[in-house]
């Protein structure tokens, strides 16, 4: 170690002597983070210098140094940028219409886009922005929302689907240019930027995921947008409160709200920006030249730009969502009665039914917990070992005829249409199976502290355990029970427990519906309160009922809780092969987008293995390099300015990207929900940008081992090799994205023969 450092040091000094630009840089007092403005000036100077050198080209070593160390040449980087944009768009739009059938999750997101066009209410576990934009793109390009998107593989026929795909592809095409600009600003090196962009442009995975009607390209667009704006904002450090400063701040905020508005994964980039901002503020706080008032301004402007503004946009997205979707649709049952009354076509919209609960009525009973289901039963028994082997009673989120119950007096089954009152003892008979709602002192299936609730008896004859006392919350004896409005509790006569929905999902035997129990704890919670939602009684007059219109904030909160519940409900199935987070960086297994058999047109979402493995390698390399750099600085090894600058890029720029990668990757290890390969793509973007910086720094550090002319050749040669490798691997693997036909890869006759490098790949 020591020996190497000494060599470095000596060499560093000698190269400084030779290098005019090195001196120039030393002479210039610069803040640690060079501003955009300054660096442009700088580079134009460099430009002039290097031109001069080129003219007087006489093979001096200095010339190499110039070309190596002054890559921040403006025209050059503009040209590179344009090339990246061109390549990016052309690779994403090539064969965009193929295959002309529904691929993979297009069946969901295309369908949801159509719902927006048809204004039908639906439920999804993701926030609405992505689907809204898809719907909008479809609408603008002439799609009429009539295609059903039933299942993957359905032909689009005459329907106009390319507008939606094109929209996603154009957002996806922005990723490499964004990466280019971000890395350029972080490292001031167009080589690093170009490497990063090339990794993304030629990655088959990024191409495939950008070409279809999916949320991911939209999400990644906003994530990359946030990062780019944040980096640009960081560059404005010396010009606070100027117009560009405000512009980038506000743009960062807008992109953040966009990212969160598409998927909750956007939280990770918010965390990244938040950490960056905290660090920024910490630095400002330590600057004693800055008065506390100024610091307050800084603080408040960031609160405005990065918290209040995004929150406002985010809420606006939901407002638009609720305004656009005003017709009843498949998502109704997930929401409360009050929410449903907003939807045209729902039976609660301008509802008309008997106002007070009566004996002999057919009713549905809804739990008052947010996203609580309807009291439900079906022709299935509790399995062996789970309480008594009687019929299951669950809570179910969808509207279903099995949610219907009949209200009876304890004894006779067809009483007069007399009204039910607070304190009455009733029997609830399940209409479909004629079993009574029943409870007894057996453990409930999941909540062991509660009692089991079952369906018992036949044709309404049961035992005393079928009797429930109705109570209106806050009511007195004799009060009537108002449909929809009254909060009702059902107290079990025999055991004194109260009918309760725990919110836990039953295992497979219970069809993954929600557990219903009888709770011995009598505290009033929404879990044990129910409302009567549908009320059918032909002997009573129907009265038009105005349901309380919910407040916007209530809807917003409710829809979020429903989404979060939905997300955590996506549990992996036991005997399915699940994707694990460690699979992803090694590119262990992809996803079938289209086609399985030899005869079909197959598209397989899989990253270009060369690029992904290079990313993996670079991560390790980066850690080693950054450790070495930090150690050298910490031990006070004398380094020349250029190397210190490189260490800074490695530590600050690279550190930011590493943090981004970690934030977008590590949390998946703690998630209980089902995971898919494509969840890694946001992290992969960060990883590729980090690779750009790492490999560029590595190649530039060639002079640690070789003397200048050779190190320069190594730099150039390494760069060329790298680009050629990426290009060649793209040539090999491009059919993954652009479609394969004929035999599968294990067959020697296949076009992909010999490319199935891992057994787990399925193409």
């Amino acid at each position: 170690m020591a020996k190497k450092e000494c060599v470095t040091k000596c060499k560093g000094e000698s190269s400084m002597l030779r290098n005019r630009r090195g001196e120039l840089q030393i002479g210039e007092p610069k803040s640690p983070v060079s501003t955009h403005h300054e660096s442009t000036q700088d580079s134009s100077k460099d430009n002039r210098l290097s031109e001069g050198d080129d003219q007087s080209s006489n093979g001096t070593l200095a010339q190499y140094d110039h070309n190596v160390y002054s890559p921040n040449n403006e025209t050059q980087s503009t040209v590179y940028f344009l090339v990246v944009v061109l390549l990016s768009f052309s690779t994403r739009f090539y064969k965009i219409k193929e295959p002309p059938h529904v691929c993979w999750d297009e069946t969901h997101f295309g369908k949801m886009g159509s719902y927006y066009i048809n204004r039908t209410f639906f439920f999804d576990v993701h926030p609405p922005l992505g689907k809204m934009l898809i719907g909008l793109a479809g609408y603008m390009t002439g799609y009429d929302g009539t295609y059903p998107f039933l299942k993957p593989g359905d032909k689009y026929e005459h329907h106009n689907y390319w507008g939606m795909r094109g929209f996603c592809a154009s957002l996806g095409s922005c990723l490499p240019p964004f990466a280019y600009l971000t890395v350029l600003d972080l490292s001031q090196s167009s080589t690093a930027a170009l490497i990063s962009a090339a990794m993304l442009v030629f990655d088959t995975g990024c191409i495939t995921i950008s070409q279809y009607i999916l949320l991911d390209p939209i999400l990644m667009f906003f994530i990359m947008g946030s990062v780019l704006c944040m980096v640009k904002f960081n560059l404005q450090i010396s010009r606070p409160f100027s117009a560009p400063w405000w512009l980038w701040l506000v743009l960062t905020g807008v992109n953040l709200s966009g990212a969160l508005g598409v998927k909750f994964v956007g939280l990770f980039v918010i965390l990244l920006v938040g950490l960056n901002t905290t660090w920024d503020l910490w630095r400002l706080l330590g600057d004693l030249d800055l008065s506390l008032v100024d610091f307050g301004k800084h603080f408040l402007s960031r609160v405005f730009g990065l918290i209040i503004l995004p929150l406002f946009f985010y809420v606006t997205i939901f407002a638009v969502h609720f305004v656009v979707l005003n017709k009843s649709g498949p998502g109704d049952g997930f929401f409360s009665s009050a929410f449903q009354s907003r939807l045209i076509g729902n039976n609660l919209h301008n509802a008309s039914m008997p106002e007070y609960l009566a004996y002999g009525s057919t009713i549905t009973v809804k739990n008052l917990r947010i996203a609580g289901g309807y009291l439900h039963s079906h022709w299935h028994l509790y399995p062996e070992g789970v309480g008594a082997k009687q019929q299951q009673v669950t809570a179910y989120l969808h509207k279903d005829y099995n949610n219907l119950w009949l209200v009876h007096r304890p004894n006779d089954s067809n009483g007069e249409p007399d009204l039910v009152r607070h304190g009455d003892v009733i029997r609830l008979e399940h209409k479909e199976t004629t079993r009574n709602l029943h409870s007894h002192r057996h453990e409930a299936p999941l909540t062991k502290k509660h009692f089991q609730v079952t369906g018992y008896g036949i044709n309404g004859t049961g035992d005393p355990n079928d009797l429930w006392q109705v109570e209106v919350c806050g009511g007195r004896k004799g009060d009537l029970i108002k449909v929809l409005r009254s909060k009702v509790r059902f107290l079990h006569r025999a055991t004194g427990c109260v009918l309760n929905s725990s919110g836990k999902t039953l295992p497979k035997w219970g069809w993954e519906q929600v557990e219903v129990t009888c709770s011995p704890y009598l505290k009033e919670t929404p879990n044990s309160q129910w409302s009567i939602e549908d009320h059918i009684n032909t002997k009573l007059p129907n009265i038009s009922l105005a349901v309380l219109k919910p407040h916007f904030i209530e809807i917003l909160l409710e829809s979020h809780i429903v989404m979060i519940r939905g997300n955590s409900g996506l549990k992996p199935k036991d005997n399915e092969m699940n994707s694990k987070p460690w699979h992803w960086p090694v590119n262990y297994q992809g996803l079938r987008f289209s086609g399985v058999n030899e005869t079909e047109y197959r598209v397989y979402l899989l990253g270009n293995p060369v690029i992904w493995w290079l990313n993996l390698l670079s991560l390790g390399l980066y850690l080693v390099m950054v450790a070495a750099a930090s150690l050298a600085l910490h031990r006070g090894v004398q380094l020349d300015k250029r190397r210190i600058e490189r260490c800074r890029v490695l530590r600050e720029g690279g550190g930011l990207l590493l943090l981004g990668w970690l934030l977008h990757y590590v949390p998946f290890y703690t998630m209980g929900r089902i995971l898919y390969y494509h969840h890694y793509f946001p992290a992969m973007l960060f990883s590729s940008m980090l690779t750009g910086i790492t490999l560029d720094t590595l190649l530039q550090s060639a002079d640690l081992v070789l003397d200048p002319p050779y190190s320069y050749w190594l730099f150039k040669g390494g760069k060329a090799m790298l680009f050629l490798t990426i290009l060649y691997s793209f040539y090999l693997f491009n059919p993954l994205s652009y479609g394969m036909r004929g035999p599968l890869a294990h067959d020697p006759a296949s076009t992909m023969a010999g490319l199935k490098w891992m057994d787990s790949w399925e193409f």
Binding site: M1, A2, L285, G286, T447, K449, M577, V596, R635, D759
Partner: protein
């Protein structure tokens, strides 16, 4: 060592523990210095934890769980416990060993009376001792953090009078042992960090840190959190050391290396050591054998080893075998068939081939036997010399009892319609030809010519015609399939899935060509002998992997709680109730201490944040040394609390109040630390300080009163009346039991 005495404010604490060699010259004199306060505190600790631990003479709460493992240790029977590494169980078993326990007790019910052969006192002795010794450790820890002896005394008193810690220490449970190791690890690291670099004791403290960390992790996985915290602290200290440019590179290299060896390598080796002892002690087969691979089972005495002892190693044409699925999910099972056909139509209307069922059966049965047949020949006996079956060979599998060939075809499987049905072929003459050729694909082969071996080879059976793989689907068949597990041919099999891999568990060479004789042969036990030994590392890896992946039941328990309930102690656990009277023991903390702990934590955070921000603006309220001291105390106490508490929010297993106790220990230590800081650095005015003194006294006495009031529930003695019990129910959510007479 004795330098600490100089700033001892308390006159009663005279001298230090430990010894010092005054000089080398003769005569050698040993001067012992003893801190009387510490001795008194230790005595109180021993008294409060050890007093009457043989009462109640009945199984108390989780003793029912740990007891079964102690019994198994005594009987040297192998078991798997997914709840933690073996050191904890071994420590408990050591107590049983001292007491001369023979392991004969049925641990099935909380509250069951112990029979006379159970040495209750010695079973509970070690946890109680660990709990007692934690008391002086608290004292030393606070002193090592740089706070005064009075503060240390306060911390120790709070720790001493914490009902929950007392309850947890007095029974055969592991938390007190864990807490002891955690405190010892922190104390020894701080000692190491505080001692002079030339002191020879320094290395001892460092090594002790490594050893105790390993022990903590060895008792419960939870110890890992504190271990990581200490590693983090050590890394920061090391980074500071590296930055010291006065030191030469070689000195630093030696330092870094020593710490790495002591804090990383040593604990790792010790952890392996625990497993080594565990596996050496438990050499007999037992109830959990079936969770392990056949090779592992064969290494245990009795059980499978008895069955497989002397089996031929290499598979040959004509071999009679049982095929066990390598996956033990949902349960370990063997390929099976029986005289029953698939129903012509299933409940959902789909049709089947109506051929003989092939299933996977979780019990040993004569119907698990299959014969490996060469498709080209008729004979079913092993020729002499035997012709071995190699990787890539094509074979037929004949069911021993029914003589049906293992077959699969393009008919949807009963429960998994995307996969092919597997059947014992019956020719119904309905243009459904036999497709009974299977290719042997040895998954863990080393050469391409490898011979299929008993137990050792993991084999995929690939159907020749459809290239489907014989696989356990994971679903169970309904009534018509006797609820056995479904076996299918999977066409889209990819990668390595344990459900698609089988190994031969029982094996013998077939001798009889006649069906009747063969059936007799199948019923007879196997024989012959070869010896198979797994290396320790292989056994360790398999056992550790199984322990981590065994599916834990996440069902709710009557006394389980969520982490949020813990901070405010909204929950308690009834540990024991006298079978006739109202005497009872509860895991229930000292509510005053818990509230003070929460207040201290909030106070610390407030202090820390305000100092941090003000220091950034170069406003120095406190001297640099005090700031560092406060920071270190924060890392150890608040950090110790956080790492032992917050991770529980991400865990999906069933959680109990006692999981919070390690976090609570660190939180308690924070109370006097914050008080001392407030006293010396925040309060400037004497009258305020007096008020603080008063508050401290009031706090301590209310802690004492609460401790005393709840001690009947801690010690289970004396018995309280129903009214008294009801008056102890300070929170509605507490479950206090009483019998109505």
């Amino acid at each position: 060592m004795s330098k600490r005495n100089e700033h001892t404010p308390n006159q009663t604490c005279l001298k230090q523990r430990g010894t010092m060699l005054s000089s080398i010259k003769l005569p050698i004199v040993i001067r012992a210095e003893i801190n009387l306060v510490l001795v008194v505190l230790t005595a109180l600790g021993v008294f409060s934890r050890l007093y009457g631990i043989h009462f109640p003479k009945a199984v108390v709460f989780d003793e029912v769980y740990y007891g079964q493992f102690v019994s198994l240790y005594m009987k040297r029977v192998f078991f798997i416990d997914e709840s933690g590494p073996p050191l904890g169980h071994m420590i408990l078993a050591f107590g049983a060993y001292i007491g001369g326990f023979d392991g004969n007790f049925i641990w099935n019910r909380i509250g069951a009376e112990y029979s006379s052969n159970v040495p209750v006192w010695s079973l509970r002795l070690i946890p109680a001792l660990a709990g007692s010794l934690s008391v002086p450790l608290c004292y030393i820890l606070v002193v090592e953090l740089g706070y005064s002896h009075l503060t240390a005394l306060g911390a120790t008193l709070l720790f001493l009078m914490e009902n929950s810690l007392i309850v947890q220490s007095r029974f055969m449970l592991l938390e007190s042992v864990l807490i002891f190791f955690l405190l010892l690890a922190v104390v020894s690291y701080l000692r190491f960090h505080n001692s002079q670099s030339s002191s020879p004791w320094r290395l001892v403290w460092l090594l002790l840190t490594g050893v105790t960390c390993a022990c903590a992790v060895g008792v419960k996985y939870m110890g890992l959190f504190t271990y990581l915290l200490l590693l983090g602290l050590a890394a920061v200290h090391m980074w500071q050391l590296i930055g010291d440019r006065a030191l030469s590179n070689s000195v630093i290299l030696v330092q870094v290396l020593t710490r790495f060896l002591a804090l990383v390598v040593l604990p790792l080796l010790l952890y392996l050591g625990f497993f080594y002892v565990h596996l050496t002690l438990l050499y007999r087969s037992g109830p959990h054998d079936q969770m392990m691979s056949s090779a592992f089972q064969a290494s245990l005495e009795g059980g499978l080893a008895r069955i497989t002892q002397g089996q031929p190693l290499e598979m040959a044409y004509g071999s009679q075998v049982t095929l066990r699925s390598v996956s033990s999910k949902p349960i370990p099972c063997w390929l099976h068939s029986h005289k029953a056909n698939y129903p012509i139509r299933y409940e959902n209307g789909r049709g089947s081939s109506h051929q003989q069922q092939v299933t996977c059966y979780p019990f040993k049965d004569v119907n698990n036997w299959w014969i490996i047949k060469d498709p080209g020949r008729q004979d079913l006996v092993v020729s002499s010399p035997p012709r071995p079956v190699r990787h890539g060979d094509v074979v037929q599998l004949l069911h021993g009892m029914t003589s049906r060939f293992l077959n699969t075809h393009d008919v949807a499987a009963p429960m998994s319609p995307h996969a092919q049905e597997v059947s014992g072929y019956i020719d119904f003459n309905v243009s459904m030809p036999a497709q009974n050729l299977w290719k042997v694909d040895i998954a863990n082969r080393e050469t391409e010519q490898e011979v299929w071996k008993t137990i050792l080879s993991e084999v995929r059976l690939v159907h020749v015609k459809t290239s489907a793989v014989l696989k356990l689907s994971g679903s169970a068949l309904p009534e018509w399939g006797f609820r056995q597990l479904e076996v299918v041919g999977d066409k889209i099999y990819k990668g390595y899935q344990p459900t698609g891999v089988w190994n031969v568990e029982e094996h013998r060479y077939g001798r009889s060509q006649e069906q009747k004789e063969r059936e007799l042969e199948l019923h007879s036990p196997t024989h012959i002998d070869i010896n198979r030994n797994l290396t320790f590392m292989a056994k360790f890896l398999e056992l550790q992997w199984r322990m981590l992946t065994v599916k834990q039941e996440t069902s709710e328990h009557k006394y389980s709680s969520s982490p949020l309930d813990w901070i405010t102690m909204d929950t308690n656990i009834a540990y024991w109730l006298h079978h006739t009277g109202n005497a009872q023991i509860h895991l229930m903390g000292n509510l005053v201490t818990w509230s003070l702990g929460n207040l201290a934590l909030m106070g610390y955070l407030l202090l820390f944040l305000s100092y941090l921000l003000r220091r950034r603006r170069k406003i120095e309220d406190i001297p640099e040394d005090t700031w560092r001291q406060l920071l270190l105390a924060g890392v150890v106490c608040a950090g110790g609390w956080a790492v032992n508490y917050l991770p529980f929010f991400m865990m999906e297993k069933t959680l109990f109040l006692y999981h919070y106790l390690p976090a609570l220990t660190f939180q308690i230590l924070l109370i006097p630390v914050v008080l001392e800081h407030v006293h010396t650095h925040v309060l400037r005015c004497t009258s305020h300080r007096r008020a603080l003194h008063g508050a401290v006294l009031a706090g301590l006495s209310s802690v004492y009163l609460t401790f005393w009031k709840f001690s009947p529930l801690t010690y289970g003695h004396p018995e309280l009346s129903a009214e008294q019990l009801d008056s102890l129910r300070w929170k509605d959510s507490w479950d206090v039991l009483f019998r109505r007479h």
